[in-house]
């Protein structure tokens, strides 16, 4: 092999230049959930729906969202998401839909679906790269007029250009936003499909109405709204000292307006008063009146260590907006026809200074299986319950299959990387045998059941930017397990009661089967007549059943 000439620093400098975020993500789109065509479709829809739901809730509007997928060519689809949210002012449109890492959510400590502000613009970028056309946006605010935009993104400058802007006087909505993009994609049904996502979103957002049209559907499928109350808006909070890493702390020190270190701590963080601030500074061996902007790396590190050593009370939990037990139950009942539902909510807890709250729900037992009912007199009857008509994918599996785990973070369903998710870990680490489900060691329990797990948090620790799995922080695992145990106990009581009734029914059928032969034997020996025989058997049956109360 011929030896190639090495480059010197100057030569290298010629090829070294800034890489735009857009460029970076164009090359690394798998990090954002665009790794294959099937996932690209899902991610596009997911990001748009997340944004719509967030916008509606922030504006106090009951969300009503339309999702459409149209097949244009074999592997090209047009995706439409339209909401009844507050709309977006014209000036912000190119930023929101065209610029990566632009948004209101990254810097705030408030619970919301989106976090980084990457998602929807990445979808637009993906569409432009695969089909050559940027996104189209229709938007109308309450007071403004409806605008129809067409956009092109500039990959090198992380910028979007509006190529067309039409003003319309009429629109079919008072306010709202419609997002349309053509992308290279594959539409499939089944697990982890868009269908699945829409259905799960309907479960975790019982206050939203979803309308959905996909290829092969004859008409728009409507997921009705079960609750007519918009979830309470979560408060925004300042970061908690425990949750801040050194680099972030240094950045905050540089950017603060506070002039004294003590003031900085009290201003920029929650749960830090004069006393706590004093304690931290003393521990760090710094002066209360030091200028924050002049704190060097070494001192910042001391400050960081001091924070960890100081006792600071947990962050306020008003920043959380859990779904609520009733709503989880409503959501499950609406989309998952089962025999029994159990829900449990944990009190808020904290990981790395971030408040979070865990809620779980369990739907168990396929209706349509035979059901035993006990009436007031204690008689057991077997009835066949009618199967609820669910035209969509059935969330409940069969009794010999592993349970389905539905994972949600801030009401957003997580469809991928189930195995690598902290929630799944918590489920497998729970002893389900205690609650009437069978389970192999280290595996998901088996049974016709759906386990719903929701984490509400100002900052959900995803394992990647594609927001597919929750990092297994010990505090989170613990809370999930406790919630699962609580719901599990309710399920266990129900299953055991069901088994008891089933075994009692079996025993009574046994009596029913053999008792007449006691009568026949007596008749043959004693020569009694049929009437007395029947009477004896009847009396015996009553005596036997009266000793068997349920």
């Amino acid at each position: 092999m011929a030896k190639k000439a090495h480059l010197n620093a100057e030569q290298m400098a010629k090829t070294q230049r800034e890489i735009s975020v857009s460029e970076f993500f164009a090359k690394n789109r798998h990090l954002l959930g665009f790794d294959n065509q099937r996932k690209a479709l899902l991610t596009t829809i997911k990001e748009a729906v997340d944004n719509s739901l967030d916008a509606c809730e922030e504006a106090g509007i009951l969300p009503s969202i339309l999702v459409e997928i149209h097949q244009l060519e074999e592997d090209r689809y047009r995706v439409v998401i339209e909401d009844n949210g507050p709309g977006i002012v014209k000036a912000q449109i190119p930023n929101i839909f065209g610029k990566l890492l632009y948004g209101s959510k990254f810097h705030s400590r408030r619970q919301s679906r989106g976090q980084q502000g990457i998602g929807i613009s990445a979808a637009g970028l993906y569409g432009q790269m695969t089909c050559g056309k940027g996104p189209r946006i229709w938007s109308k605010t309450k007071r403004g007029k409806m605008h129809a935009f067409e956009m092109q993104m500039d990959l090198t400058k992380n910028k979007a250009l509006i190529t067309k802007d039409e003003e319309h006087k009429e629109w079919h909505q008072k306010e709202g936003t419609r997002f349309e993009i053509d992308i290279e994609a594959t539409y499939q049904r089944g697990l982890r499909s868009v269908d699945d996502y829409i259905k799960q979103t309907a479960v975790s957002n019982p206050h939203a109405e979803l309308r959905y049209l996909a290829p092969g559907m004859e008409e728009v499928r409507v997921y009705e709204r079960a609750i007519k109350v918009v979830p309470e808006r979560a408060d925004e909070i300042k970061p908690h000292p425990y949750g801040v890493e050194l680099g972030e702390l240094m950045k905050m020190l540089r950017n603060t307006n506070s002039r004294w270190l003590s003031g900085f701590l009290q201003e920029e963080f929650c749960r830090v008063g004069p006393k706590v601030a004093k304690g931290i500074i003393k521990e760090a061996g710094l002066g209360e009146r030091s200028y924050p902007t002049r704190i060097a790396r070494e001192e910042a590190n001391k400050l960081f260590r001091a924070i960890q050593k100081t006792k600071i009370s947990a962050p306020p939990t008003t920043c959380l907006s859990p779904i609520g037990e009733e709503r989880i139950k409503e959501g499950l009942m609406k989309e998952c026809d089962a025999d029994f539902y159990a829900v449990a909510t944990r009190p808020p807890a904290v990981y790395r200074g971030n408040p979070f709250q865990i809620e779980v729900g369990i739907a168990w037992g396929k209706p349509g299986d035979d059901r035993l009912e006990v009436d007031k007199t204690g008689r057991i009857t077997k009835t066949k319950k009618k199967r609820g008509t669910t035209d969509t994918e059935d969330l409940l599996g069969n009794a010999d299959e592993a349970v389905r785990v539905l994972r949600f973070a801030n009401r957003v369903p997580l469809l991928f990387q189930q195995a690598g998710c902290g929630f799944t870990k918590a489920v497998t680490q729970t002893a389900w045998k205690n609650y009437g489900l069978s389970q192999s060691k280290g595996a998901l329990p088996v049974g016709s059941a759906v386990i719903f797990i929701h984490m509400a948090s100002v900052w959900v620790p995803f394992t990647s930017e594609a927001k597919e799995a929750i990092a297994p922080y010990p505090e989170i695992l613990k809370e999930v397990k406790l919630a699962l145990q609580e719901a599990g106990r309710k399920l266990g009581v129900h299953i055991r009661k069901g088994r008891k009734v089933a075994s009692e029914f079996q025993k009574r059928s046994y009596i029913e089967k053999y008792l007449p032969h006691v009568g026949i034997g007596l008749q043959e020996i004693l020569g009694i007549d049929n009437e007395e025989r029947e009477e004896l058997v009847e009396t015996l049956r009553d005596s036997m059943e009266s000793t068997r109360k349920i």
């Binding site: 046994y510 053999y514 032969h517 034997g521 020996i525 004693l526 009396t539 005596s543 036997m544 068997r548």
Partner: protein, 417 residues
Amino acid sequence: MAAKKTTKKKATKKVTKKKVAKKVAAKKAPVRKTKAKLRKAGPAERSGRKDLRGVALDSIQEVAEDVRKVAAAGRLPDMTMPQRNLANVTYDRKAGYFELKGNMKTRTLDVNSVKTFAQTLRLMALAKEMVADEDFATKREAYYVSKNWGDAKFNEQRESDTVLDDIEGMFSMKEVTRETLRFVPEEHGGSVVGNLIVVDKDPETGEDIRSDCAAMGSGAYTVPSSVDHLAFETTAEFVLAIETGGMFQRLNHHRYWRTANCILVEMGGVPTRATRRFVRRIAEGLKLPVYAFVDCDPYGICNIYRTLKVGSGQAAHVNRDFCVPTAQFLGVTPQDIIDFGLEDATHPLQPVDIKRAKDALKNDPFFQAYPKWKKAINQMLKMGVRAEQQAFAKWGLNFVIEEYLPKKIAATKNFLP
């Protein structure tokens, strides 16, 4: 049992020519000259004892009537019967057989017992019909009768046998046996040859039929399933109860019973009830000693011999009449293995043998009553081997006739109890 007996034939070929010659020469020597004394015994007392048929019918009626009364009163009826297992028997040397301790089990009608409860009543109904009509059913037939009962039918004969045993146990206090209830086992009793005349009756004409067990040629008299009506005449001096058909054939072929003036009974494993009763009647009625000749292994001693002598735990309620308390153990004893040089004709004890032997030492009231037996069983366990009756063929096919049995019978005081 059958499997272990077949392997022995080849070993016989290893006997040296010299020894065979010696044995053949000795063969004609020991013809015992004894004064033939004729003894007679009539039908068993209990066969004529009151009206057992009536007792049986009354007992069935009584149980059913109880069930009806309790049921009509709105309570749950029950049936009480003795527990049939080794834990519920005691052994007293004076009585001579396993007696029930009196532990009872009560079967109350509930979901777990309803099937058996119904089956018990239906089998009792069948018994009542058979007693009234003087018909009978083999245990197998009784099982098939149940096939017409729909849901209540038995799935296996084992189940119907158990219920029959329960019924028998229930009535045993009134001396009503399975045979009185007209259930008979389908297996016949053992074979008998020797100086014995059995007087039976023709079931149709009622005439006496005399069977001379010395005139059976190469065949044998077969013990019928019911023996109480038989009468006996004999000139023999003892009864030899033999475990295996092979040994029985050898002794019969060489007319050992003539030489030794005895009666040979082939038990064929654990003796059936009829065989036990038959031997008992000869022993008691004709006042003859009974010697048992079985394999030297835990099965031969702890099952075959023990059951012959004192009965079983399973059928404890009938042991009184269905065992031979005067029986003695001729052999093969563990000591015989040493005394007769059989060490190299043995097989190692299997785990199941060891378990059986240890179980007998620990739980069987019979062996616990005799230190000699404990010693013998421990000796066998220590030696770790078992020897079959046919092992004597090592010293020549007829060594057993010419040497072993005469030597043993010459010293009956050395027999194990």
